[in-house]
């Protein structure tokens, strides 16, 4: 099946010719279809009156987008195809398969005497790379990153420098030794080549490491290194490129190089942070235009990247900084759906980019001008490997003196082995000017060989090696509330002890930053009441939500003993009217029984009117207004029954807006007259119970009417209950930040199924809290 698809698409592709992406503007499709095209494009020759063309063929003006779409389609279909062959994809990492596909496509194109496109650097750097980096930066686990920042920087900066000079220098030596063909490769060229090839590539690392689920420490070390070494690469590249035209280097130049490095990296970070804060600030005001919220995040981040590139600062670092700075504030401001949108768009784009990059790498290999030189290529390969191993071992020796949790030799091996090279190196070499670098093609060949080696050999073998060495895998931890509380407690404890020791360590500065953040920054950037919400509460909400969702998904069948107090507490934890309320009233079976009993004993036989569980019709329902009151009262009555003794506490709710439903509820709650059960009975119209409803008639339908919107969510959930699981499983891009995203995932699933109505319904839902 996949084979047929593959062949079909290939046929399409080849038939329509190579896209305009490559530098060779080739003859392409014109040569294939001269006849019909002419007929379509000819307009004015009035020699003979032709018949009116009913069907004409005008390919030219859609060619570029058409071909781009075809490529994207090919990439996505390939991805789909791989996952249908599970055995293959468990042995070979996806990146390898994609390169192979690229090779095949390139080969096919060559066969048909088309000119295959090459991965042009502009396209790569401006369009293909940013989504991947933004995705990585936005979901970067900040805590682990900052804890290991020293180590990461050491590897990124010192490690890359070491690699560059080692490889460059020794390669020069080899060239000198080799004689005849290579002797005119000068030192600067070699150093430049060394600096390009020594950088660990984030795209390749992500692609491979994601599939092996290695423990978080190693993942963040290798991945962080691959991101931060961009600054080093940029500086070295420009440095050597400049000097190769000049010819000599002085000490002054070296010094300027160092300064340049600082400017490039810090400048990139500053630019990113500025845009990030702008994005956060903008998101504060988007409560009325929820639909374009994700756009702000994307555009600001992209602008950060482009602005950094304008000044030749490190665009990657800018993007990372922007994503990391934006996230905490934007997430507090935007709606759930926007959050989901951002997450999925980022994953989607980065996935497509990643696939395209590898395919093009394959195609370029077939297409690109090659100059094979055994000695040079083999020497490069060996030197790269050796340099990496030596670098890692040496640096770890130094680093371990400063780390609390030391890196074992297993860790070192994985770090060294995970130093994959990828498309960035390729693109950088491609950018080289052939006049200055006569041996550019040789460099290209060598780089492609190294890339292939690292991606294929290292990529394929890293998984069995990880298993063989019994390296710790990522723990699928469900963060418990205990851990959260105790971790915070310990943070405070350590900060205190540091104070006693008089030592301003890690905790002290973290504490200071947190205080500053809470006091000034959050107030600026987060809208409304959310700015004061402590992290623990947010975490607790998330947990409760998750449990509630699990409860619903399990059919509400088993009555979890813990569910009862939690769901009750859920209703209590809504003191403020927050514009994007995340808590839904998920009433457990126990509650349902309770409610049913109360209703039965005190009210008349209630029957539920049921037309369809369409939020539109229910909202537009003329009975709505009256219902509000009744529902509020009924809800209140139930809560009162449960929590009679604690009524007073409702009044200690800290000042939200005076007309917030919570206060209203509290006021009503404390009003003794409101208790009158008898009075309720008259005012309730009859509700028809539709016994044909899919769920158990009694329990479920009561609940529905009671929590108006809440019930609808429950209804649609139950109906979609099973289907909710499916989308997440076929999620193409796996979670990189496991814990957080796993926690959020159920919320989004829930939110997604609530997202069917049009904008009007959406608005309502967002702005009113569910609990009435």
């Amino acid at each position: 099946m996949e084979l047929k698809m593959f062949i079909l698409v290939l046929g399409l592709l080849v038939g329509s010719g190579s896209p305009d992406i490559g530098p060779n503007q080739g003859k392409c499709s014109d040569s294939l279809d001269p006849g019909p095209q002419d007929q379509g494009n000819h307009t004015l020759t009035p020699q003979s009156k032709k018949n009116f063309p009913v069907l004409s063929f005008g390919y030219d003006h859609v060619r570029l987008p058409f071909e781009i779409s075809l490529w994207v389609l090919l990439a996505s279909l390939m991805k789909l195809g791989f996952h249908m062959m599970p055995r293959l994809s468990s042995i070979v990492p996806e990146s390898c398969l994609l390169i192979v596909v690229g090779l095949l496509v390139g080969g096919l194109m060559k066969l048909v005497a088309e000119v295959p496109p090459v991965l042009e650097s502009k396209i790569f750097f401006l369009y293909l790379l940013p989504p991947i980096i933004l995705d990585a930066g936005y979901f970067m686990p900040i805590r682990q990153f900052t804890e290991n920042l020293g180590t990461i920087l050491m590897f990124a900066v010192v490690g890359t420098l070491w690699n560059a000079f080692f490889v460059g220098g020794l390669l020069y030596g080899v060239c000198q030794f080799e004689g005849h063909r290579l002797v005119n490769v000068d030192l600067l060229s070699c150093l430049l080549f060394g600096s390009i090839i020594s950088a660990v590539d984030p795209v390749a690392v992500l692609a491979v490491f994601e599939e092996i689920h290695i423990n978080e420490l190693l993942h963040i070390l290798v991945f962080g290194e691959s991101l931060l070494n961009d600054a080093v690469t940029v500086v070295l590249y420009h440095l050597f490129e400049e000097f190769s035209s000049v010819g000599t280097i002085t000490v002054m130049d070296v010094f300027l190089g160092v300064v340049c490095f600082l400017v490039v990296s810090l400048g990139g970070i500053v630019v990113g942070a500025i845009y990030g804060l702008l994005a956060a600030f903008t998101s504060r005001f988007t409560s009325h235009t929820r639909v374009i919220e994700p756009l702000f995040v994307f555009v600001y981040s992209y602008m950060a990247y482009l602005s950094a590139e304008v000044f030749h600062l490190s665009g990657i670092m800018a993007l990372i900084a922007c994503g990391a700075v934006t996230r905490p504030y934007v997430e507090a401001n935007i709606s759930h759906k926007s959050h989901t949108t951002i997450k999925y768009f980022l994953k989607m784009w980065s996935s497509v980019s990643d696939t395209l990059i590898f395919i093009f790498l394959g195609v370029s290999t077939v297409a690109g001008p090659h100059e094979w030189n055994w000695i040079f290529v083999v020497a490069t390969l060996i030197l790269c490997l050796v340099a990496r191993v030596l670098g890692v071992v040496g640096l770890t020796f130094v680093i371990n003196k400063f780390r609390i949790v030391k890196l074992t030799s297993k860790d070192q091996f994985i770090i060294a082995y995970g130093g994959l090279r990828g498309a960035i190196a390729f693109s950088l070499v491609y950018l080289l000017n052939t006049d200055h670098f006569p041996k550019r093609n040789m460099f290209l060949t060598a780089i492609i060989t190294v890339i292939f080696f690292t991606v294929f050999v290292q990529g394929m073998t890293i998984r069995p090696l990880v298993d063989l060495l019994a390296v710790k895998k990522k723990q699928e931890t469900k963060r418990s509330i205990n851990e959260e509380i105790h971790t915070q407690f310990l943070d405070h404890l350590l900060t205190g002890i540091e104070g006693i020791c008089g030592h301003y360590g890690h905790h002290h500065w973290k504490d200071k930053l947190n205080r500053f953040n809470k006091k000034y920054v959050k107030k600026c950037l987060i809208a409304g009441e959310r700015s004061k919400e402590p992290q623990l509460i947010a975490f607790y909400h998330k947990m409760e939500m998750k449990q509630a969702i699990e409860l619903v998904e399990s059919g509400g069948g088993s009555k979890l003993p813990s569910a009862v107090p939690s769901t009750v507490s859920m209703q209590n934890i809504q003191p403020k009217k927050s514009p994007q309320d995340r808590a839904l009233p998920q009433l457990s079976k126990a509650r349902e029984d309770e409610i049913r009993k109360i209703l039965r004993t005190n009210l008349q036989k209630t029957r539920q009117r049921l037309r369809s569980y369409n939020r539109h019709t229910l909202i537009a329902d003329p009975y709505e207004d009256g219902w509000n009151e009744i529902l509020i009262k009924r809800k209140r009555m139930m809560e009162l029954e449960k929590k009679i003794s604690q009524m007073n506490n409702y009044l200690t709710v800290p000042a939200p807006a005076p007309d917030s439903p919570t206060i209203a509820r509290a006021r009503l709650a404390s009003d003794p007259q409101a208790w009158g059960l008898k009075s309720l009975t008259e005012s309730i119209p009859t509700i028809k119970v539709d016994l044909a409803s899919p769920q158990s008639p009694e329990s479920f339908n009561m609940v529905d009417e009671i929590g108006k919107k809440g019930s609808q969510s429950k209804a649609s959930e139950e109906e979609d209950g099973l289907t909710m699981k499916v989308p997440s499983m076929t999620k193409p891009r796996k979670d990189k930040t496991a814990n957080e995203d796993d926690d959020k995932e159920p919320q989004q699933r829930l939110m997604r199924c609530l997202s069917d109505p049009g904008p009007a319904g959406e608005e309502d839902e967002e702005d009113e809290p569910f609990l009435h």
């Binding site: 418990s480 205190g496 623990l536 506490n649």
Partner: protein
Amino acid sequence: MGSTSSTLLKIPNAEVLMQETGFSPAHIIRLHDRFKALDKEGRGYLCPQDFGAIKELAMNPIGDRIIGAFFSPGKETVDFSTFVKILAHFRPVDKDRPKEPNSPEPINSRSNKLKFAFQLYDQDKDGKISRDELLKVLRAMLGMQVTEEQLESIADRTIQEADLDRDEAISFEEFRKSLEKVNIDHKMSIRFLR
């Protein structure tokens, strides 16, 4: 400053302290200096006010508990060896320390670190963290931003999760178990005290 050994001699019981806590001479000296700096009146011991003068502790939500941990029950003062022994809890664990079969567990072992933290929760020292104690800690950490119910819900939930023997309180074993996935060696160590 004189050489390490001469300064060391001035500190009472330095040898014994180093033995018990595993601190190096340099650390003992550093801590002694800090002790003297805190002990402004030069009495040779510290009292709660001396601790209170530390600014960071005043801002710390559990600052008073930390201070309280230094003072053994009944005593009003902290002498140098107690000071050092308490701080020894926060030494990073040295993995390559040879395990002598008869020696007691080092103060900075994972278990002892956890015990220290546990004691900070368990103020009445009954060996369990009751719901009230938990509530007090939560209130201290979360301040006035949350309502009573929220706290109670969180406390209930916490106890539910951790309480395995259903006695509505968290014992030390349950505490330890709930933190088994957290890298205590890392979380409760100060690099300064290596």
